[in-house]
């Protein structure tokens, strides 16, 4: 049963390799099919976790003796299973979009392999229970993302990728330093063992490692002041990719924070949470303002990710089960919305006179596709947290948990800042669908756009999750409760009774 954990990693991996061996015209469909299977497997994973009510644990190679692991352990608990499902859902739709896209980059023989490896890296990083293995998977993720952006049709892609890769290398250095420091202190890299040991006694080195890990995850989740790579990178990546990067890949950092405060550094959690609260609020204000200030639709959405992730961090920062559940709901909903918005932005750009999402370039382009306007408007509402979309559910839950956690000042600030979301989303909508162009420009014959099944499906989901929110909230509440007790995770991985007896 525990082998289910391997499927979301191995299916894309195998698919990615088989893709290398087939003629170009088959690749798109094969990749999409593989992702569908992989998505199904991650759905199976979550339902199994739901059924067992505890974590699935797989000691790869079976290196598990006398109640403790000696190899690499994969752990699928509520948190990782939920995040894997979220990621693969969005990634699958990303593949669907790519399959219909007209970008040059999609035609490259290696495109789908690279994209698929991105999936492997993300799923693995979410499922692994070993710190160093997390580093390895994260590197796979980073390299795949870097290449995909470097070869993007956007001619700034390479520059963005270059900067991102440098920054990620530094982040990797942080992570390795942390690994070393923790191994020095506790002689293991298994997160469950580490959690147990740190719970008993936190050495100064461990605390240093905490700082380093925090920094690493802040880079991953593009949190101020580690965010510099993000606007460039997410704006320049090929649409299909940036839609997934800005929606789910940044959530790896969020996942990391949750592991830090609920498994590795439980006693130090208040400190981490205060830090997150601070950077979260800064991120919301900074991201919102920058999104208003920028001149490119994709870039605007990238900046808005800074702000939206900020809301999640504030939720984690409050640290009550309710607020963590709210943060998870927010993360899930944001993934859907942001992916949809970026895909639509890409579609709009590909209909503009020049293939660019620059506002001057896409003004009034919407009139070529009024139907898309409806979806974009709903997406904008969701992003701004207006009912009856899932964005409203997220915002309501976060605010509510804030009241329950008596975090009044953050609440006031994020309330004010969330008006900014309305400003930039509506401005963008009005510019693309309401404004008009002078004659000479409209004379340009517009190119045929991309297929829009994926974004429309995502907007559909957003709307559905706004009306029928209970299942998601139920799962996230379960997750938050599970995260309440670190011991549950530890017991699932280690045979604590046996260890206690010896």
């Amino acid at each position: 049963m525990n082998e289910i954990l391997l499927l979301p990693i191995l299916i894309p991996l195998t698919g990615a390799l088989l893709l290398l061996l087939m003629p170009n015209h088959l690749r798109g469909w094969f990749a999409t099919g593989t992702m569908a299977v992989s998505l199904a497997s991650s759905g199976w994973l979550l339902s199994t976790v739901d059924a067992t009510g505890s974590a699935l644990v797989l000691h790869s190679g079976g290196w598990f003796f006398d109640g403790s692991p000696f190899g690499i352990t994969l752990v699928g608990d509520w948190l990782s299973a939920l995040f894997v499902l979220m990621s693969q859902l969005v990634l699958f739709l990303g593949f669907v979009y790519a399959n219909g896209a007209k970008d040059k980059v999609v035609q490259y023989p290696t495109f789908y392999t690279l994209f698929m490896m991105l999936v492997v890296g993300l799923s693995g990083a979410l499922l692994t229970g070993d710190l160093f293995n997390l580093f390895v998977f994260a590197e796979l993720l980073v390299i795949a993302g870097t290449i995909l952006t470097a070869v993007s049709d956007d001619k700034f892609g390479t520059e963005a990728a270059f900067k991102y890769f440098y920054i990620s290398l530094i982040a990797a250095a942080f992570l390795l330093l942390a690994c070393g420091a923790l191994y020095v202190s506790y002689g293991t890299l298994n997160m469950a063992q580490l959690g147990q040991a740190i719970g008993l006694e936190a050495t100064p080195l461990a605390l240093m490692a905490m700082g380093l890990l925090l920094a690493t995850f802040m880079v991953k989740s593009a949190t101020v002041p580690f965010h510099f790579w993000q606007p460039d990178f997410h704006a320049a990546a090929p649409t299909a990719v940036s839609a997934t990067l800005s929606s789910v890949v940044v959530k790896l950092g969020v996942y990391g924070y949750l592991r830090l405060i609920t498994l590795l550094f439980v006693d130090q959690a208040p400190f981490i949470q205060n830090v997150l609260l601070l950077v979260g609020i800064v991120g919301i204000v900074f991201g919102g303002l920058s999104a208003v200030g920028t001149h490119n639709l994709k870039r605007m959405l990238a900046y808005s990710t800074l702000a939206q992730v900020g809301f999640i961090l504030v939720g984690i920062g409050w640290g009550t089960p309710l607020s963590i559940a709210a943060a998870l709901v927010f993360a899930f909903n944001h993934a859907l919305i942001k992916a949809a918005m970026l895909m639509m932005a890409g579609a709009i750009a590909s209909r503009a006179p020049v293939k660019s999402a620059d506002f001057l370039n896409i003004t009034a382009v919407g009139k070529l596709h009024p139907a898309l306007g409806v979806f974009f408007f709903v997406g904008a509402m969701a992003l701004a947290g207006l009912p009856p979309t899932n964005g409203f559910i997220s915002k309501m839950l976060v605010f509510n948990s804030g009241i329950e956690a008596a975090g009044y000042w953050p609440l006031v600030l994020i309330g004010l800042a969330s008006i900014l979301t309305l400003v930039y989303t509506m401005r963008a909508f009005m510019r693309v669908w309401y404004m008009t162009r002078d004659k000479d420009e409209t004379a340009v014959t517009f190119k045929q756009g991309d297929r829009l099944i994926a974004p429309m499906a995502l907007v559909g989901f957003s709307f559905l999750l706004g009306i029928w929110a209970n299942p998601l909230i139920e799962i996230t509440t379960e997750t938050a409760l599970w995260l309440e007790s670190p011991q549950a995770y530890i017991n699932a991985v280690l045979d604590t009774e046996l260890l206690a007896r010896r």
């Binding site: 290696t110 492997v120 998977f137 002689g187 700082g211 207006l386």
Partner: protein, 978 residues
């Protein structure tokens, strides 16, 4: 107030969905519905029927409110609740009743405009939201509909989106109302968290609890903010005049009868929970007072008929807000009457204004005039409504003002407040009289001012829609005491007052103070009206600070701040990295803040046993590394780097870590080579330009570097001094490696067995790098014409070795021999990687180096011809798939993924020469070797001649598929062999 739960509440859901059905119908049938007068009548059936439902329910409504709840989010036990009581009924009747008239009216307004389907759809959507809002019985349900009205009104105001004014008006309205919406949401959440439930019944019941809570004030302010923004209270009133750019039917509906009343409704509804306190009284009264005066004062300045009406609406809303503030029976009586009265005459006036607009083509009251001849009906209707606006007897508006004045002089108020209010109300009333007069005299009486205006009459039936409400306001005024109605109004008032309210419509209440006051008001008004020219001149002479200006300032401020915050993204990577590292150091410092650093490591436990080789290696590394900074020429700096790498290798060998040392050497060579290769690819000028940057001392970078160096020193020192430590894993490895994996090289065992998953992903990463480089150089670079122009490339380089000229026979034959030798060495590495230094990676690199040498000697083209068997894609795929296969076999045979298998044992090949073991480990090493070879050869392929495609352009589609095809067959063969 009792609550009764009833089952058959579906009727109200039907009533709401009927309106949305209307939206659907008018959108789907937008091309099929006739664009003439019939359209309005047909679509009018939808709101009419839901009006019927509401009316029917109202007649059946008793003392008790009926509520209906359906579970929405069970996890949060959050329900969707509808509640129907007298107050809801009153508003619901207005919403649906006037809605019907508006739809019919819109049919005429958009006569022969077949693109108006969109407008009808939006309007119906809004109606549904509005009806839901007044029927909601739960704060969340209420809020959802509340925001719904904001959004739909945005769509309606922006209906004529071609015009800048429409877009700006819509945006301003949305910004203000939705901004207030956020405040409202938080306020409602506060409210429900205090009351412990989200539904009205509980909240209204726990009024004392709420008023007692220490969060009362903030809750009140937040909720009030929501109401003020929605109901255009000063200073948020500015959105309403701008919203006049909406088509008139929308203005007549949203901005007179319904949406602007939402805030009034909200506060009236929550009076039992939030009201009856000092704060409540002062907040609402003062804001209302200000709004009333501002509206009245600014109204008279307007030229545009609709703008004038908008300001009089604002004024009226201020009055209603004031009324809620008072905690007296009579105030709530006045409230209900005022709401209804205003809804009637104002919608009539707006519709009339719309007709005038359509028929004459202008709304400028100073261009219009003498319309009494051309549109007598309109004169009658607007006349009545205007008099009602002026608050003259015998009209409904008179009642409203009467009761209002009565409220103001109510003994329960402090003396001076009472006088203040009275004075204000009289002034406002006077101004409203002037406004009414302006409508009548400028537009209908007098003589024509502008001859250019010609008159295109609409069908007479258009006047039906405005006529009905106008007559109502007349009728309610003059009919003698309609008892049932009075009771209904009383009940509605009672809901918000929380106690019985007696309502009477008696016009003549005797010669009491209110009457005297209203006479005074009328007198003052008349004077002002006669002197209106001077009045307006005086108003215009005043240097006026406008709230709109303030709003624009706000938006400007936001934009300014945004531009500043985007400046942070300076594009300078070095700046980004420095900030990051500093932030990291900061995080680490505050993380360990609690401890003093001496705890990390102490100089006592220094062991003084020296190891000369180590010292030397360290010295080499340090000097060489330092040299890379100091040396000016990049080429030599790279060589120094290579030396540093070798120093590291020696150190590793002494550690002792032979495997690592070996790989380090190999990698060091490779890295140096690639770096030099890259250097050669840079244009000469650029290189020299860049070299001029070298050796400049940069203090910030130095500080950052020093800080991070200190951190690493600290950690390393602690690590070293705390040796020997217990590792939870290593002892196990050294004890069981041989037994469990059959490997005597523990590191190798960890690589291919214990931590096989790491290795699997690691080679995936390496292969990906190769694929990436290939894609970058072969396709991406071409797409953007990145390759240097032809002139750069020495054409001979294309045919022959990198050196350019024809390479000697000796070299060529040497290269021919070197390749097989390299493969032999590599295979040795793979075979014995388990028992001695060296592993698949080393093997792969060695092979790739040989391949690289071949490229060097034979040049790109010939090398490609010689190495046809070298299919990087298939090698990579084969390699990694082999590992996956290996792992799967492990699962099939031992039930554990990636567990070691002794294939030799399985196939009973026990005795192989030279101690070769056919274990999974061996397969693993081979797999690594293949993948690395594939990837590395891709790198060489791309780097050796990145600009290959400049000479012979190859489109993406070709060159790869047939490679793939061969790969498929090759792949098939491989598996047949298994």
């Amino acid at each position: 107030m009792q609550i009764a739960l009833v089952k058959d509440f579906m009727v109200f859901i039907v009533a709401i969905s009927l309106l949305w059905l209307g939206a659907l119908a008018s959108w789907l049938l937008r091309h099929h519905l006739p664009a003439d007068t019939r359209r309005g009548w047909i679509l009018g059936l939808f709101p009419l029927s839901s009006f019927g439902i509401v009316l029917w329910q109202t007649l059946m409504l008793g003392e008790t409110a009926v509520i209906h709840r359906t579970t929405w989010i069970s996890t949060l036990n959050l329900d969707a609740v509808l509640q129907f009581d007298a107050l809801s009924a009153l508003f619901a009747l207005l919403v649906t009743g006037i809605g019907t008239l508006i739809i019919i009216y819109a049919g005429y307004y958009f006569l022969n405009d077949d693109s108006a389907g969109r407008f009808f759809a939006y309007l119906f959507l809004f109606m549904g939201m509005m009806l839901g809002l007044v029927l909601a019985g739960d704060v969340i349900t209420l809020f959802i509909f509340w925001e719904g009205t904001s959004i739909t009104s945005f769509l309606l105001v922006a209906y004529k989106y071609k015009y800048e004014s429409a877009r700006a008006g819509a945006f301003k309205a949305l910004f203000i109302t939705a901004g207030g919406g956020i405040a409202l949401l938080v306020g409602l959440l506060f409210l429900s968290s205090i009351a412990g439930s989200t539904d009205f019944a509980t909240i209204m019941a726990s009024g004392d609890l709420i008023r007692g809570s220490n969060l009362y004030l903030v809750t009140l302010i937040l909720v009030a903010l929501g109401a003020f923004t929605k109901s255009a209270q000063a200073p948020f009133h500015i959105w309403l005049p701008n919203a006049m750019s909406a088509p008139t039917p929308a203005s007549a509906y949203l901005h007179s009868a319904t949406m602007v009343k939402a805030g009034i409704y909200l506060l009236a509804r929550f009076n039992p929970a939030l009201g009856e306190t000092e704060a409540w009284f002062w907040l609402l009264s003062l804001v209302g007072l200000a709004t009333m005066l501002i509206g009245a004062y600014l109204g008279t300045k307007q030229k545009d008929l609709k703008a004038l009406l908008a300001y009089s609406t604002i004024s009226q809303l201020g009055i209603l807000m004031m009324l809620i503030g008072q905690d007296t029976e009579i105030a709530f009586k006045a409230l209900v009457i005022g709401v209804v009265a205003h809804a009637f005459y104002k919608s009539a006036l707006f519709m009339g204004a719309g007709i005038i607009d359509i028929e004459t083509g202008t709304r400028d009251i100073y261009r219009l005039g003498a319309l009494r001849q051309s549109m007598p009906l309109g004169f009658a209707i607007i006349g009545i409504s205007a008099l009602s606006l002026a608050g003259l007897p015998p009209l409904f508006g008179f009642l409203a003002k009467e009761t209002l004045l009565a409220t103001a002089v109510h003994p329960s108020l402090p003396e001076f407040v009472s006088w203040l209010f009275t004075a204000a109300i009289i002034v406002a009333a006077a101004f409203k009289l002037v406004q009414a007069g302006m409508i009548l005299f400028e537009v209908f009486l007098g003589n024509r001012k502008d001859e250019t205006i010609q008159h295109r009459p609409l069908p007479k039936l258009v006047f039906l829609a405005p006529a009905l409400p106008a007559l109502m306001s007349l009728g309610l005024g003059i009919l003698p005491e309609p008892q049932g109605l009075a009771e209904f109004f009383g009940a509605a008032a009672a809901v918000s007052f929380g106690d019985k309210v007696k309502v009477s419509f008696a016009l003549w209440t005797g010669l009491n103070i209110p009457f005297a006051l209203s006479v005074g008001a009328i007198g003052l008004g008349t004077v002002l009206f006669i002197q209106r020219k001077r009045l307006i001149a005086w108003q215009n002479s005043l240097l006026s600070w406008s709230f709109n200006g303030a709003f624009d300032q706000l938006i400007w401020g936001i934009d300014r701040a945004s531009t500043l915050s985007t400046k942070v993204q300076s594009g300078k990577l070095r700046f980004y990295l420095s900030v990051m590292i500093v932030a990291m150091l900061g995080l680490v410092t505050i993380s360990v803040g609690g401890f003093n650093l001496s705890q990390l490591a102490t100089l006592e436990d220094l062991s003084l046993q020296e190891n000369p080789v180590r010292l030397i290696s360290l010295l080499i590394t340090l000097l060489a590394a330092g040299a890379t900074v100091l040396i000016k020429r990049d080429f030599f700096a790279i060589l120094a780097l290579g030396t540093a790498g070798l120093g590291v290798a020696i150190y590793m060998a002494v550690e002792p870590a032979p495997d690592v040392a070996l790989v380090q050497i190999v990698v060091d060579i490779l890295a140096t080579l690639i770096l030099i290769l890259a250097l050669t690819q840079l244009p000469q000028l650029q290189k020299s330009a860049a070299e001029r940057l070298n050796g400049r001392f940069h203090l910030p970078s130095f500080i950052v570097a020093a800080g991070s160096g200190l951190l690493v020193t600290l950690i390393t020192f602690t690590a070293l001094t705390s040796r020997p430590r217990t590792s939870l894993v290593t002892p196990f490895y050294s004890d069981n490696a041989k037994a469990l994996t059959g490997a005597s090289d523990i590191v190798g065992a960890i690589i291919v067995d214990f931590r096989a998953l790491d290795t699997l992903i690691e080679i995936a990463v390496f292969s990906l790098a190769g694929l990436g480089l290939y894609t970058l150089m072969r396709f991406a670079a071409n797409k953007h014409q990145d390759h240097p122009p032809q002139a750069y490339i020495n054409p001979r380089v294309q045919q022959f070795g990198i050196a350019g000229p024809q390479t000697s026979v000796y070299l060529r034959s040497m290269a021919k021999i070197l390749l097989p030798i390299a493969f032999l060495v590599a295979s040795v590495h793979m075979l014995y990687g388990h028992d001695q230094p060296g592993d698949g990676f080393t093997a792969g690199v060695i092979m790739s180096l040989a391949v690289g040498f071949t490229y060097l000697i034979f040049g790109f083209d010939e090398a490609r011809q010689r190495l046809t068997w070298l299919q990087p894609f298939s090698l990579i795929a084969l390699g990694i798939l082999l590992v996956v296969f290996n792992g799967t076999m492990g699962y099939l045979l031992n039930g554990q993924f990636l567990s070691p298998i002794d294939y030799g044992g399985l196939l009973s090949i026990t005795t192989l020469p030279a101690g070769v073991k056919l274990s999974s480990g061996f397969l693993f090493e081979v797999a690594i070797g293949l993948a690395v070879l594939g990837s590395a050869s891709l790198m060489l392929d791309s780097l050796a001649r990145p600009s290959a495609l400049v000479i012979q352009p190859v489109t993406e589609s070709e060159s790869v598929p047939e490679r793939g095809a061969t790969a498929v067959s090759f792949f098939a063969k491989v598996f047949q062999r298994r």
